[in-house]
């Protein structure tokens, strides 16, 4: 197991009396393929926002590679090596795919690379790796939903993050698109730790090495997919959730 990349320590987020995330301890190790699962309303997306800096915790701390980033906003955390995707792909709609990737790479580049020696080859290679090479000159707004997901993945990887946060990457995708996504996720190097929130069970099983189960804002258990699947508490939560639905 590698060094910790992301650590949440007693992290919580309350909205008045409602605790969306409550006293969570979670560690994502270098190179991990870590999935965050749980029934609807368990606080998964809130937790991801807390890790990315889109939300500020009302309790506890957030550490990135050992550094306290609790009070840093999303942009500053991104510059410290956090890449992320959103439930609805967030892209620059009027710009083409190549420009989207180039813009995402920009903050990590030197002055020279930004203004004087602009080199699009690595961005094109990134698009090519995700099967988007043909769409390099297509505006992001004109892509299909599935391809927008892939483009956002390319964008999130453009600045070579050490931590990648994926918020329900399979949501709204066809089975074919999920296959493409899984292939794309497989190309991510071991230097990138991935934390993903996902409902799609097959994707979680195929991709994740570690699974954390969240219920009512708190961590129930963390383990390998097999361990978690065998955990009676997890079964109970999912049965309860199904029973309520």
């Amino acid at each position: 197991m590698g060094k910790p990349v992301l650590e949440l320590r007693g992290t919580g987020r309350a909205y008045g009396a409602l605790k969306a995330v409550d006293d969570v301890d979670l560690t994502v190790h270098a190179g991990a393929r870590h999935a965050l699962i749980g029934p609807n309303g368990a606080g998964k997306s809130t937790l991801l926002h807390l890790a990315a800096g889109n939300l500020r915790p009302t309790a506890g701390r957030v550490l990135l590679a050992g550094r306290d980033v609790t009070r840093h906003g999303p942009a500053r955390r991104a510059r410290l090596g956090v890449g992320r995707t959103f439930q609805t792909p967030a892209l620059i709609g009027s710009a083409d795919c190549l420009t989207n990737v180039a813009l995402a790479a920009w903050p990590a580049q030197t002055f020279r690379a930004r203004w004087l020696r602009r080199d699009h080859a690595p961005h094109l290679a990134r698009l090519d790796a995700l099967g988007l090479a043909d769409d390099a000159a297509t505006p992001a707004a004109a892509l299909s939903h599935g391809r927008r997901r892939l483009l956002e993945l390319a964008v999130a990887l453009a600045a070579s993050p050490r931590l990648l946060l994926l918020d329900e990457p399979a949501a709204g995708l066809t089975d074919d698109d999920v296959g493409l996504l899984l292939t794309a996720l497989g190309t991510i190097g071991a230097e990138v730790a991935v934390l993903l929130v996902e409902h799609h069970q097959e994707l979680v099983r195929a991709f994740a090495g570690t699974v954390t189960v969240l219920h009512q804002g708190a961590v129930v258990t963390t383990g390998t997919p097999a361990e978690v699947a065998a955990d009676p508490r997890v079964r109970e939560i999912y049965q309860g959730a199904l029973g309520a639905a």
Binding site: A75, R76, R84, F86, L91, G93, S94, W106, H120, A137
Partner: protein, 322 residues
């Protein structure tokens, strides 16, 4: 290959024709026409500045008249020091940029309708200050007798109408050319990125507020240069040059031209001023009424243009999330 440099041949041709026509105008037109056009040059920069903020950066602003005023009064003071036109232009742009940097810190915290409110307030407050701060601005009388100066150090004083015309038009075109070049550079892509999807820009590590602050500062410099050209062309400045009605006029021009496009904004200024100068003399004293009616007409008769603009701004109800 470089996607930010997409240009259409038609657009280039239109720009070349327009620039050539402007530069050749003194050979065919009378002095009255030349004076009118040279006075529009300053307004054109004001409109370009408004279009840059509203359409390109996505911060709808009603207050670019404020840096325009700062530029105009700065240029008038520099002219009294017998400094040449170029120095006035640069000095005005610098003062307006500093002004915009100071006010922009608050403006870039806002989006959408609050930005409209705040920038409108800044514009109005500046116009009021111009009328009150007598020691600096001459109060309500303004600065009526700005001396003629040369365009460049050691040149001849700009007194003859064709000389004044050539200076203001060439200076305005130069400022516009620099603006367009910047917008075609990666800087333009950054600005449009902040407009299109702020959450994505932040998630990629961009300092969105800082980018918008620099844009606001640059737009202020452009408006300030416009103020300097106003002073060069009419050699006076008073609060009525920087008030509510001028702001409204230019806003209307930008709306008609399609806020996202700087050439469109310039065409809009030409159209609005042409309409005003044709109709207004026939209806003395009715200029504000006319302007108001034009506004209302533009809103109802140009729904495509306006909603196109609004859509780009994300100002449509329900899709303001970006």
């Amino acid at each position: 290959m470089i996607p930010t440099r997409l240009r259409t041949p038609l657009g280039i041709a239109a720009a070349v024709v327009a620039v050539a026509a402007l530069l050749l105008l003194p050979t065919v037109a009378d002095n009255y026409t030349l004076i009118t056009v040279s006075r529009v040059a300053g307004l054109g920069l004001l409109a370009a500045s408004t279009a840059l903020m509203t359409g390109v950066a996505g911060l709808p602003t009603l207050g670019q008249i404020a840096p325009y005023a700062v530029g105009a009064y700065t240029a008038a003071h520099l002219a009294h020091l017998a400094l040449p036109g170029l120095v006035q232009l640069l000095g005005a742009a610098a003062a307006a940029a500093v002004f915009s940097l100071a006010t922009g810190a608050a403006v870039v915290q806002t989006r959408g309708v609050i930005c409209l409110m705040v920038t409108l307030a800044i514009g109005e407050l500046t116009a009021i200050t111009a009328g009150q701060w007598t020691s600096l601005t001459g109060g309500t009388d303004g600065m009526p007798r700005v001396p003629a100066t040369p365009a460049l150090p050691g040149g001849e004083n700009l007194v003859k109408v064709p000389d004044v015309y050539t200076y203001t038009v060439v200076a305005a075109l130069a400022v516009l050319a620099v603006t367009m070049l910047v917008l075609r550079s990666p800087a333009g892509t950054l600005i449009r990125g902040c407009r299109d999807n702020e959450a994505r820009m932040r998630a990629s590590g961009h300092r969105v507020s800082l980018t918008l602050l620099w844009t606001f500062t640059g737009a202020g410099a452009i408006a300030g240069a416009g103020g300097a050209l106003l002073v060069s062309s009419q050699r006076t400045v008073s609060p009525s040059n920087v008030g509510f009605e001028v702001a409204a006029l230019v806003l209307l021009a930008v709306v008609i031209g399609g806020a996202a496009s700087i050439p469109g904004a310039l065409a809009g200024v030409a159209a609005v001023v042409a309409v005003r100068d044709t109709i207004a003399p026939k209806l003395p004293g009715e200029a504000p009424l006319l302007l108001g009616v034009l506004f209302i007409a533009a809103v109802y008769l140009l729904p495509g243009g306006l909603s196109g603009v609004a859509a780009r701004l994300g100002l449509h109800n329900g899709e303001a999330g970006a």
